[in-house]
């Protein structure tokens, strides 16, 4: 099934490329990309597609292995080196400046000028010609990029990359933010560019697009290339099989040893929180979930499937445009408008990005732990702040409380006055959890609670999750690591393309079915609302 193109068609050939962080992310991958072809790269979370593309684009240096571009050694040390060799990458985070207009963004790398003065007319007429050729007649070159819709921005970025010296174009999920007419326009452009000899690497979860567009498909799993197939050699179900390794499911689904520990617990079927019809287009498109007392509900899904967005909506960090919450006491209310309201109602969130919104890195462990409890003074709630007899904040009592709450979490620190930024990632995560344990809540939402932390810390975090469940709290855990969810969750809901595409429970979770459900929302031959119910 591996049919390499003839030598003179090959543009970029990659030979046993490896990238090792703590474990190999790209594991001796050899692959060739030819001129005039759209080559799709498929794989589940963490399969190594993004890392591979970043190596090609000069954003990441490989640990070992070689690359040849048009038969010459190719070792880009930076993005600009790769660009000068004609390799352009369009990542999911756009590279546009919202405060400059469309024309200036298009030519930002080389603004047309004479003695430093912009040739404004020339720039706009060139921009106009370029956009017209790209089928973007509706975009005004004088408009500020920030005023364009996200789909138009995406198209603009692709157009801007394609008009530069471009031999190889890498597109990472280009249609995630596009409407379907915009996608059609893009496909048309890609096909034409390919016919003119451009090599295109196309990463997408949307298997129907891949089936339609790709001349060849390479599938990565756990950093290894599983194979390369010609157009029409496989259908969408076979793609999913290759990505998820379902054929080897008997190897994977052996009972995991840790599983037995949590089966002693009897989760009750009493919902502490039910959410109905949560919507925020385009990320979350109508989600119902029941969080039960003493139960850990795992949410699986591909990156970008709307998992993080769903938790943020439940927590009021972003506003849902529709939906309702029903609490254990029978009260029903609309989505929260602020985290403040959610916390008041007993919902807490350990967010995905502890550095951006979970911690005050320049502040002490103690200050971080007490932060949520500060709410007590402005709202008449349980006031857990240690005070001295003048009503001031007592730091000696505070330190004692902080070290008490950290102790079972095994936070490694010299003193609770140490700055949180100086702790390791695992210990930082424990501090985030500690602050919510001190504040207390009924429903705990965890977004990637063990990402990027070491094995020991991971074990402790899992223990905390189980203890909370044993205390009768309701837990929702989002994780990209399916093995982790299988290990700790009582039930698993699978999210795909903004919807729940599968619900699973029982002692043995069917890995293959869960993985299939993760892709279900992106497949054309399956009704998006049809979940795999077990």
């Amino acid at each position: 099934m591996d049919t390499l193109s003839e030598e003179h068609h090959t543009l970029l050939s990659i030979n046993s490329l490896c990238k090792v962080y703590s474990s190999p992310v790209v594991d001796s991958v050899s692959i060739a990309f030819a001129k005039g072809e759209i080559h799709a790269l498929l794989g589940a979370n963490g399969a190594g597609k993004s890392t591979l593309c970043k190596i090609i684009a000069g954003l990441v240096q490989p640990t070992s292995g070689t690359m040849k571009l048009a038969n010459e050694r190719f070792e880009p040390r930076s993005k600009s080196q790769a660009e000068s060799a004609g390799i352009q990458i369009v990542q999911q985070e756009l590279n546009l400046i919202p405060t400059l207009d469309v024309a200036q963004n298009l030519f930002l790398h080389r603004l047309p000028s004479r003695w430093g003065i912009l040739q404004i007319k020339q720039m706009h007429s060139k921009a106009r010609a370029l956009l017209d050729a790209f089928g973007l007649q509706r975009i005004d070159t004088h408009e500020l990029v920030g005023n364009l819709g996200i789909g138009q921005q995406q198209m603009l970025e692709i157009a801007s990359n394609m008009h530069r010296t471009c031999r190889l174009l890498i597109l990472d999920e280009p249609t995630a933010a596009l409407s379907s007419p915009e996608s059609e326009l893009l496909f048309e452009k890609l096909v034409r560019a390919k016919e003119e000899g451009l090599a295109i690497i196309y990463i997408s979860h949307r298997l129907d697009e891949v089936e339609r567009l790709a001349d060849r498909i390479s599938i990565l799993r756990d950093g290894k290339r599983m194979g390369t197939w010609e157009r029409g050699e496989m259908d969408q179900n076979q793609m999913v099989e290759q990505m998820t390794g379902d054929e080897n499911s008997e190897v994977l689904s052996g009972p995991s040893p840790i599983r037995t520990e949590s089966t002693d617990r009897q989760p009750l079927d009493r919902p502490v929180l039910s959410i109905r019809g949560f919507v925020r287009e385009p990320y979350v498109r109508g989600v119902d979930l029941d969080v039960n007392e003493g139960m850990i509900l795992g949410i699986a899904g591909l990156v970008g499937s709307g998992r993080t967005e769903l938790l943020r909506l439940m927590y009021g960090a972003d506003r849902a445009t529709g939906g309702s919450l029903c609490f254990a006491d029978g009260s029903v209310r609309g989505p929260f408008h602020s985290p403040q309201a959610a916390v008041k109602a007993g919902i807490v969130l350990v967010s995905e990005d502890r550095k951006a919104d979970g911690l005050l890195l320049n502040q002490s462990i103690e200050d971080n732990i007490f932060l949520p409890s500060f709410a007590g003074i402005w709202q008449n709630e349980r006031f857990s702040l240690p005070t001295n007899r003048w009503g001031g904040y007592s730091s000696s009592k505070g330190r004692a409380v902080a070290s008490d709450i950290c102790e079972p979490l095994d936070v490694r620190y010299e003193s609770v006055e140490q700055l949180v930024g100086t702790l390791s990632g695992g210990n930082q995560q424990k501090v985030v959890i500690a602050k919510w344990l001190l504040r207390g809540g009924n429903i705990y939402l965890f977004d990637e609670p063990t990402r990027g932390i070491d094995v020991a810390a991971r074990g402790i975090v899992h223990r905390v999750l189980r203890n909370l469940a044993a205390q009768g709290k309701g837990l929702v855990v989002v994780s990209s690591d399916l093995e982790e969810l299988i290990e700790i969750a009582d039930r698993i809901a699978v999210m795909s393309n903004g919807r729940i595409t599968g619900r699973f429970q029982g002692a043995d979770f069917p890995r293959g079915d869960i993985l299939q459900a993760m892709f279900a929302g992106y497949q054309s031959n399956k009704n998006e609302n049809d979940g795999v119910e077990v």
Binding site: A317, S338, Q340, P372, F374
Partner: protein, 316 residues
């Protein structure tokens, strides 16, 4: 000795500030015959209370991640209202002072509320207040300088044996209280948290509005106190008073190591900053430096202090 790391960080910083101040005092004492004398030192001490009080408020506002450009005008408005009530309306001293403090507090609270509730940068909001309060001051005094007479003079007159005025002691007390507030109260800790990362605070289920209103309000209240002290020292209320006060206060904060990006600062360091600026200016004057030279040197010292601070924080 068992010193906690937090305390050690603080003490190290104060030691550095104290050292810098000592070097300046030593330098001027050696270069001039008059500097090292009780008269000079008490004169310096009695001239700084109003700037100290305003700078304390500015420190708190900078820590919460804001800036207050309106302090000078708010001082002028507070002082003008006080003078109007006292002189024109015949109010008692206590009532007039209370009104001055109220004017300052209300201005500050409005700044804080518009800043936090509508998410408008405090730079803009307080720039608006700068004009409004100045206009208010002219209205209250009908653009005249009001003579207060001896009613308030006791506040700025040397008091007891060593010749320091009550105003100086009030300023010292305010520094101490503000330092305590910053480290030992929920309001202070919230201010630091918001200045460090307001998104973390929001995601911790807290509203930033009450804290920001309170801190800006406190800054305005301190402007009211500063206005009272200034009027007592000059025996007059001038609607043009306090021009450039915001820059002097920010300079003192910055010399003391307060970050303009928020979340970092110390009231005691700001007090050192005030002392350094006034020692520098008095010393240079006694050395015979002209006003332009004084300004050039002061400006250079501000930039130098910030350079030193960024170098220090990059190293650690």
């Amino acid at each position: 000795m068992n010193v906690s790391p937090g305390l050690r960080r603080g003490l190290l910083q104060y030691a550095g500030m104290f050292f810098a101040l000592s070097v300046l005092v030593l330098f001027f004492s050696l270069r001039t015959k008059t500097f090292w004398s009780a008269t000079t030192l008490t004169t310096i001490a009695n001239s700084i209370p109003d700037l100290t009080v305003v700078a304390v408020g500015m420190t708190l506002i900078l820590i919460v991640g804001g800036i207050d450009l309106s302090v000078g005008s708010v001082m002028a408005w507070s002082g003008s209202v006080m003078a109007m009530l006292m002189v024109d309306q015949g109010w008692p001293v206590a009532g007039s002072v209370a009104a001055a403090l109220l004017v300052g507090t209300v201005c500050g609270c409005i700044n804080g509320w518009i800043n936090s509730h509508f998410r408008i940068p405090s730079f803009i909001v307080t720039l608006g207040m700068l004009e409004i309060a100045r206009g208010g001051a002219y209205l209250a005094t009908r653009s005249e300088t009001k003579y207060l007479g001896p009613r308030l003079e006791w506040l700025s007159e040397p008091w007891l044996g060593i010749g320091l005025s009550p105003a100086f002691w009030i300023a010292i007390a305010i520094v101490a209280i503000a330092q305590w507030l910053l480290h030992r109260t929920v309001l202070g800790r919230m201010a630091v948290a918001i200045g460090t990362n307001s998104e973390t605070v929001r995601m911790s289920g807290l509203s930033t509005i009450p804290t920001q209103v309170a801190i800006f309000g406190l800054g305005g209240f301190l402007c009211g106190i500063a206005a009272t002290i200034q009027c007592s020292r000059l025996s007059t209320a001038d609607p043009n008073a306090g021009a450039g006060m915001e820059l002097s206060a920010i300079a003192a904060c910055v010399i003391g190591g307060t970050s303009l990006r928020g979340g970092m600062g110390s009231v005691i360091s700001t007090f050192f900053g005030v002392l350094i600026v006034s020692v520098l200016q008095t010393g240079l004057a006694q050395m015979g430096a002209s006003d332009p030279i004084k300004r050039i040197v002061t400006g250079a010292v501000i930039v130098l202090a910030v350079l030193l601070d960024s170098w220090r924080s990059r190293r650690s």
